[in-house]
């Protein structure tokens, strides 16, 4: 072929874009716009989620309290006068309820608040039904209070609470069987007299769950403790098992069909839906091994099984990322395989391993499906004791608590559920932040 047979190139100017260039530029601009649009949609969804959760949930951390002086009458609460807790325990909440009712009526009378429009029962139902039990618990914990007049802090009932938070209005109260506008008028007057106050409520974080009729008393205490116990079990079991497995597979195991098979299976296990692990746990831990239902030990074990593949995959990736020259260097000065792994490879892989572990834990913390199957969805009002016995006692978990509360009919529980989501998200964000900090801190160059 000679030069003459080539098509004669038209003289081109760099300053004028031809058709190809224009099309290429248009495609690039379009692609950039797609990217921006995708990110914008994602951000919008996030903003929507956060505003809806925060808007609903922040109020769960504040609670309306009724504060009245109550005289703890010895004649009612401790007839024997011995302050013997066993004898005092025979006094039921009914007696305490009467005591509170008298104190409330007396206080309203002295403050000059008109309750003529309400029945006695309606006056009393401004206060949570949990109040007598609260007072009884307080007295049994400290019998020396008997005979004194104490300032008693009771939860206002959820409708009154809702009124002060703007959830309940006079108009909605007129259609509500649980509260009347007249009651709200009285509550308003009590607030004016300083008897009712809305403030920060620690008991949302520390108290156990409460029954469907007492949303104001429901707290996350048992759920947080249960989740903490399970995270403890997951960490203690999955980190050593996962790291040991990864080191063996990555550094020591011969590469053959069996190890390939194991690798494929681990990768697949990471993708198994979590509810399947729940069924496994039900069959294995509860039916076969006879471990108790609703116990953190079972929850921890099933979450361990679920987290292990994640940790193994992350750890193997971290080990693979350590350059082979480091292994050669260690072997070259006469370090054994174990020494080269534990002195050099593992420390270098540590940030990756920790990041993977924390992300695995975060996923386990937010998991609810397998816990439903092992009975952690039960209503648990008693705190489990300290480990190790506490691991065998019933508890709930944060995500399950959210699930439970959203099932209940009282609208006050919507607020509680959003509050629980905020707590859960706070834990997750903290864990992810720790993962990022660890990665930054330990990241090394080679």
């Amino acid at each position: 072929m000679t030069d003459a047979s080539l098509p004669a190139a038209a003289p081109k100017s760099l300053l004028v874009a031809d058709g190809r260039t224009r099309r290429r530029k248009a495609a690039e601009t379009r692609f950039r716009l797609y990217g921006v649009a995708a990110i914008a949609i994602g951000l919008l969804a996030l903003v929507f989620l956060l505003t809806s959760v925060l808007g609903n949930g922040v109020n769960a951390f504040r609670q309306t309290f009724v504060e009245i002086p109550v005289t703890l009458d010895e004649a009612v609460l401790d007839k024997t006068g011995t302050r013997d807790p066993k004898a005092m325990a025979k006094v039921t909440t009914v007696s305490y309820g009467k005591l509170i009712q008298q104190a409330l009526e007396a206080e309203l009378a002295t403050r000059g608040i008109d309750t003529s429009a309400l029945t006695e029962k309606q006056v009393m139902s401004l206060m949570s039904k949990e109040a007598p039990a609260d007072l009884r618990r307080q007295v049994l914990a400290d019998p020396l209070l008997i005979g004194q007049t104490i300032t008693f802090d009771a939860f206002a009932t959820s409708r009154v609470d809702g009124y002060f938070k703007g959830r309940v209005t006079m108009e909605s109260a007129s259609r509500d069987s649980n509260i009347t506008p007249e009651q709200l008028v009285v509550a308003e007057a009590m607030a004016g007299a300083g008897l009712i106050e809305t403030r920060w409520n620690w008991r949302f974080l520390t108290a156990p769950d409460a029954s469907e009729l007492r949303p104001e008393a429901a707290g996350l205490g048992v759920a947080i403790l249960g989740s903490a116990y399970m995270m403890l079990i997951v960490l203690v079991l999955s980190l050593p098992i996962g790291v040991a497995t990864s080191i063996y597979l990555e550094e020591m195991a011969p590469k053959n069909r069996w190890t390939d098979l194991i690798e494929v299976n681990i990768a697949n296990l990471a993708a198994v839906p979590s509810i399947v692990y729940g069924i496994l746990a039900l069959a294995l831990f509860i039916n076969f091994m006879g471990l108790p239902q609703s116990a953190p030990i079972v929850g921890g074990l099933v979450l361990t099984l679920m987290t292990l593949p994640t940790i193994i995959i992350a750890t193997r990736a971290a080990l693979q990322a350590v350059p082979p020259s480091i292994r050669d260097a260690a072997l070259g000065v006469g370090a054994s395989k174990m020494q080269s792994i534990f002195h050099h490879v593992l420390p270098l892989a540590m940030p990756g391993i920790l990041t993977g572990t924390i992300l695995g834990l975060a996923r386990a913390l937010g998991e609810s499906a397998p816990l439903l199957l092992i009975g952690m969805v039960a209503f648990v009002k008693d705190f489990p004791s300290a480990p190790p016995e506490g691991l065998m006692q019933p508890a709930t978990a944060l995500p399950v608590q959210v699930y439970q509360w959203t099932q209940r009919s009282d609208p006050a529980f919507v607020e509680r559920a959003s509050g629980a989501i905020i707590v859960l998200l706070t834990f997750l964000l903290t864990m992810n932040a720790v993962a990022i900090i660890l990665r930054r801190r330990f990241e090394r160059r080679w």
Binding site: K255, I326, A329, V333, G334, A335, S336, R444, R445, W446
Partner: protein, 265 residues
């Protein structure tokens, strides 16, 4: 290069430190090294030269059993260190590598302090009894590696923060800190600039009085400059092995001649 100078270089007649007989290496199906016989003399620098893929690095890695780490590698034949077969079932490769040290092509200091890099070997082999002795070993090794003056004020600084040439000398210091009897060097200067190369070469020249040095190199000038004996590998065969002066001035095999004159390789 002045050819006569090489020829005049005296070779200390010494006993064989390592002997290799009929060494064959297979990587899976690939027959990488065919029937190699070499004697590594004590107190001598031996250079392995040859084109890429000729098996010289493979053979070097046989001498301290680093090929054990390659799953597909299979070594047959016999390699003896002081008369003992290093591939004997009873030999622990880790103990062997403490006696036959190695410096790699790319400087690979541990991402630890300069001090820790050098102290690591003596520490895991229990060569020192206390901190003072360890300090002494670190200093001696760094001095032998001609690095002491440059780093003595920053021993706790990370070894990875040094320049390439300094890193390679740190690796040499690390290798000689365990007091090996043979030092294997796999193209130690290929990642270095000419000045650093000159420093390392000078170092090799000083080191061979204390132990045998085996160096793989792509640079024939380097082989001529630092070694007393040279082995030429081609396509997995040991073509020719003899005194450096003789190999470069009067090669017996036509392939050797072609390689050193630049016609093959």
């Amino acid at each position: 290069m002045n050819v006569m100078q090489i020829a005049e270089r005296a070779t200390a007649t010494a006993t064989a430190k390592m002997t290799a007989r009929g060494v064959q290496v297979h990587y899976g199906e690939n027959h990488a090294l065919k029937d190699v016989d070499v004697d590594i003399l004590a107190g001598t620098v031996t250079a392995f030269i040859g084109p890429s893929g000729c098996g010289k690095s493979t053979f070097l890695r046989c001498l301290n059993r680093m090929n054990d780490t390659v799953a597909s590698a299979r070594v047959t034949g016999e390699i003896r260190l002081d008369g003992e077969d290093i591939y004997d079932r009873r030999v622990d490769p880790v103990t062997l590598r403490a006696r036959v040290g190695m410096v790699f092509q790319k400087p690979n200091p541990f991402p630890k302090s300069i001090y820790e890099n050098v102290a690591y070997g003596p520490r895991i082999h229990g060569l020192t009894r206390n901190r003072a002795e360890l300090d002494q070993v670190v200093e001696t090794s760094l001095r032998k590696a001609a690095l002491w003056n440059e780093v003595k004020d920053r021993l706790q600084a990370p070894g990875t923060g040094l320049s390439g040439g300094q890193q390679q000398r740190l690796c040499i210091a690390r290798a000689i800190a365990t007091a090996p009897e043979v030092l294997l060097m796999d193209e130690p200067c290929s990642a270095l600039d000419p000045i650093a190369t000159a420093q390392v070469e000078e170092l090799i020249d000083e080191l061979h009085t204390q132990f045998s040095v085996v160096i793989v190199t792509h640079s024939m000038q380097q082989a001529a400059r630092v070694s007393q004996r040279t082995a030429f590998f081609h396509l997995g065969h040991l073509v020719e092995y003899g005194e450096t002066g003789q190999i470069f001035t009067n090669p017996r095999d036509p392939r050797t001649e072609s390689y050193i004159t630049g016609r093959i390789g």
